[in-house]
Amino acid sequence: AQDVTVPIIVKDTTSFYWQIVLAGARAAGKDLGVNVPELGAQSESDINGQISILENAVAGAPAAVVIAPTEFKALGKPIDEAAKAVPIIGIDSGADSKAFSSFLTTDNVQGGRIAADGLAAAIKEATGKEEGEVAIITSLPGVGSLDQRREGFLDQVKTKYPGLKVVADKYADGQATTGLNIMTDLITANPNLVGVFASNLIMAQGAGQAIAENKLGDKIKVIGFDSDEKTVGFLKEGVLAGLVVQDPYRMGYDGVKTALAVSKGEKVEANVDTGANLVTKANMVEPKIDALLNPKVN
Amino acid sequence: MTGLQEVSQRHEGELEAAVAKGKPILELRGLQKNYGAVQALKPATITFLSGEIHAIVGENGAGKSTLIKLLTGVIPRTAGEVFWQGEPVLLASPNEAIARGINAVHQEVVLCPHLSVAANMFLGDEMNRRGVMRKRAMTNAAQGVLDDLGFNLPADATLGSLTIGQQQLVATARAAMRGTRFLIFDEPTAYLTRQESAQLFRLIRRLQGDGVTIVYISHRLEEVFELADRVSVLRDGTHVGTRHIGETNEAELIALMINRTIEQIYHKEQFALGETIVEARGLSGPGFADISLSVRAGEIVGLYGLIGAGRSEFALGLYGRHRLTAGEVFWQGRKVEIDNERQAMQLGIALAPESRRDQGLCLNLPIGLNINLPVFRRLTRGLTISRADEAANADRQIRDLQIKTPSRRVLASAMSGGNQQKIVIGKWLSHGAKLFIFDEPTVGVDVGTKAEIYRLFARLLEKGAGIILISSYLPEVYELADRLHVFRQGRLVASHDYRAASHEDVLAQAINA
């Protein structure tokens, strides 16, 4: 019955964030009667893997392809190439291509800025002033979206919060345990640390665990990125001061919906910003935020 | 024309002019080698004359192989000088020795088991045409050499699929064909039978006729007297003398070697034969077929045959290592199935295998661990091994077998060839088995220790054990076996009682002449 196929290619099938995107796409597929193969690389840094998957997906002659490009520059040409055969819808991150039929993205640089704002606010709430030593932990080097968050965060701190001093700019290896180890060592090495930005889910889990272990939630404010049960729990307990949350479910859902529309020749909006929001203990009960924190994954 | 001549002529022109026959070609002056604190070779001064066959004899660990390794550039010397055709030479690498025409057949086969026979023979000296190897030509040439030498071996077989003895022949053929002025054999006959030894001797004489100087190391003194022009004796790393072969005798050489005399090497006591320990009826398996024989308490059963006659395979089959395809085994009158080595050991069978390198020893582990390996279960008290018993057992074997080592903790690989062989034997002496299978037990073992091992056999028999003795050295099985079985091509072709047949008869049966 479902002879229309719209594959969705995410960056990394093994993380919760992308599972929410896929869940949204799946729901859209069900609602619209479209077959939605869920594809993705093995890790966010696996650019070549994603290019291969894109090639394979196009070979199946689908109606359209929804893709979250792992790297801005690298995916440009392959997307140009693919767009010759099928319409391409971009979600989450951009790519160096003009061939997209539509774009539903979060601005990760903006996400980094929001994190900086959230961190400054949390520090001010705790100490009364926007001053002190802060640090950033990036899960993996060389990953486009993480780079952009880091860039946005550092830029915002520099321009807007001169009182905040970035004393450490660390990269981990994508492992929660490494995030945890780096965080404990940061605590040891920097007794005056007041804030940390852990720029993805896994690092927020690791850093949060270190804060919880050392019961430093009041002293060191940690802002994470994206959410799951664990980090929301941390937020409730006051271990984490805030989370920057995107709307992955909507990206997936609307991505497929838009793709179907494009394949039918309908006119669609070229650029949609799905937005990023700062969630704190205070606003987490708001229905809109609550929906973001508890996506309908299954 | 194919064969040795043709192939070895490839290098004739490159080698330096030969020294006149009878003049010194290679002189050692105070040559010395220490391994750490061990003085393997004390300052030795020996002169080798062009065109002679010069034998070197000495006990296990006397330093013979060390001397050879020094001359072939395998190991660096500690002190001393070497003069080659009157010039001092460094001999710092195997390449240098090879370039001068010095080659050796080492005691342990050092070839590449994964390569073919032909590839091994030409290794480092390949025939090329425009950068591409001439594989077919090399295989043909190698086959030519093997055939010429009378070695019945396929040049395209993988080396690792050959028996140790066959591999030794390959090493011999290889050394012989490499355009050589000076050729050293380190116990080349250890794994060979009479038949192959005779071929080897013909080869050696032929090389001598071509003007090659030969150094020949052996523990078999009769070979020395058959072959050599002169003989040098090493004892404990010291060169104790050189004799013209006509001016000495076995007794003098033994006295020089071990500093005492031995009345008799073959120690034979007759014991009253007890009940039958094991009986094989029509056993068949990989490499042997329809073998029936039995062993009684107090009896040595000898198995003789040429290389590849199937004796080792039979022993491994009996021991449960190889699956039997037909036949029955009776253990003390009861029919038994032996599916694996552990069952064999539980019944009371011990096997000292033929190849110490491949089957006998964990070379990079200490001597003590090797000796105790079969008996760790017995040495275990509760959860852990009793350290005292472990040490005591290892030290006892080291003492009984005169293994020349400062300690049981030394790695087996640091032992001389003969001493390694003693470890293989020592593993089983404390095992308390009823049936001992010794496959080539005295390969590379010096006369003194040989006599000691034979005495140990007698002690085992006295305690009511039986022994299967497999040997390619006819005098050994002939003098020791109460009953002698001759194998040929996997079958048992003849059986004799103690000294019932002549050497010649046994040999003829083994080669079907």
């Binding site: 093994t14 080097p141 990269y171 345990t177 | 964990c362």
Partner: protein, 325 residues
């Protein structure tokens, strides 16, 4: 002590206690590192930081010990990282399903045993190279774990379980106690019992071991089961430490475990290794990371320095061992 089993070179003079000395000297290198770090940063020698180092090295140390058993038999176990991630999922899943804690722990360890047995089965019965069978389970286990969690994580709410990894006992982190709990029986097993000797014999020459009556197959089963069980145990510790079950965790830990083992003097060709070596190797690596963090070394320089230090440490160790010949 393990004198009999460690010397790998062809040493003519028997050195009593060479193995201990070797252990000590690697320990010496570790102590030198610690002293230097103590001079360079005041934070290093605080009790808190020492606890951190002990905690940070603990999991790799346990993995490395298990891995060492396998490497001594001349094998390799690439699956340990995946087993850690997988068992962290299993225990989280069981706890989430309301299984009692003790049963969840036992069941998780039992799964470790099964995985090891499967590896040995593949090697012994199917004739597969250890590299292949453990690579295959590495791949498959991650897949199964991801299926169970649906690509996400399972939070662990059992307070008793998650607080364990944070706890101290006699001032020493519980995670480090776990290293001791593993290392002591491992030492007895490898260096004092006959099974340990059999591992070495199989790794050195399995044919000789077989003809000496060693049950080679059982020995291989033993080695792989021990390695996987150590990994499952680390999976429990990891789940306790980060409070989640996540199938993609512990990625690349197999390389760290093997590296710790080799730094600790184990030979990948088998028959050479100890229990204390890998432990030291793991804590050397943990110290390098901790020190770099304390000194706030740029993360990229940290990688460069780690690589260089590995070369330097193994080189000196090598030199010393050659010298002692």
């Amino acid at each position: 002590m393990s004198v009999e089993t460690v010397e790998s070179g062809a040493g003519p003079t028997p050195k009593r206690g060479v193995s201990i000395l070797f252990g000590l000297t690697l320990l010496g290198l570790l102590v030198v590192l610690w002293l230097l770090l103590g001079l360079a940063t005041s934070a290093f020698w605080t009790p808190n930081n020492i606890s951190n180092v002990l905690r940070q090295g603990a999991m790799t140390a346990i993995l490395a010990v298990g891995q060492t058993f396998v490497i001594i038999t001349a094998g390799i176990d690439l699956s340990v990282g995946a087993v850690v991630g997988f068992t962290s999922v299993i225990v989280a899943w069981l706890l989430a399903a309301g299984v009692p804690l003790w049963l969840a722990l036992v069941a998780t360890l039992a799964i470790g045993v099964l995985i090891g047995a499967f590896h040995a089965f593949g090697i012994v019965r199917m004739g597969l190279p250890p590299f292949i069978i453990t690579l295959a389970t590495l791949t498959s286990l991650r897949g199964i774990g991801l299926l169970i969690t649906n690509g996400s994580t399972i939070s662990i709410t059992n307070e008793a379980f998650t607080s364990f990894s944070r706890a101290d006992f006699l001032g020493i982190p519980s995670l480090f106690w776990m290293v001791i709990v593993v290392a002591i029986p491992a030492y007895v097993f490898l260096h004092l019992s006959r099974f340990g000797r059999y591992l070495f014999a199989v790794g050195s020459n399995s044919e000789a071991a077989r003809l000496s009556g060693v049950n080679v197959n059982r020995t291989i089963y033993l080695a792989y089961i021990l390695s996987s069980t150590c990994a499952a145990f680390v999976g429990l510790l990891l789940a306790s430490r980060i409070g989640i079950g996540n199938a993609t965790q512990a990625e690349g830990w197999e390389l760290q475990a093997i590296a710790s083992s080799v730094i600790g003097g184990t030979s990948l060709f088998g028959a050479v290794g100890s229990v204390h070596g890998p432990l030291l190797g793991a804590f050397i690596l943990a110290t390098i990371n901790n020190g770099a963090n304390l000194l706030n070394v740029n993360s990229f320089w940290q990688r460069i320095i780690t690589g260089l230090l590995i070369i330097v440490i193994v080189y000196f160790d090598q030199l010393r061992r050659r010298g002692s010949r």
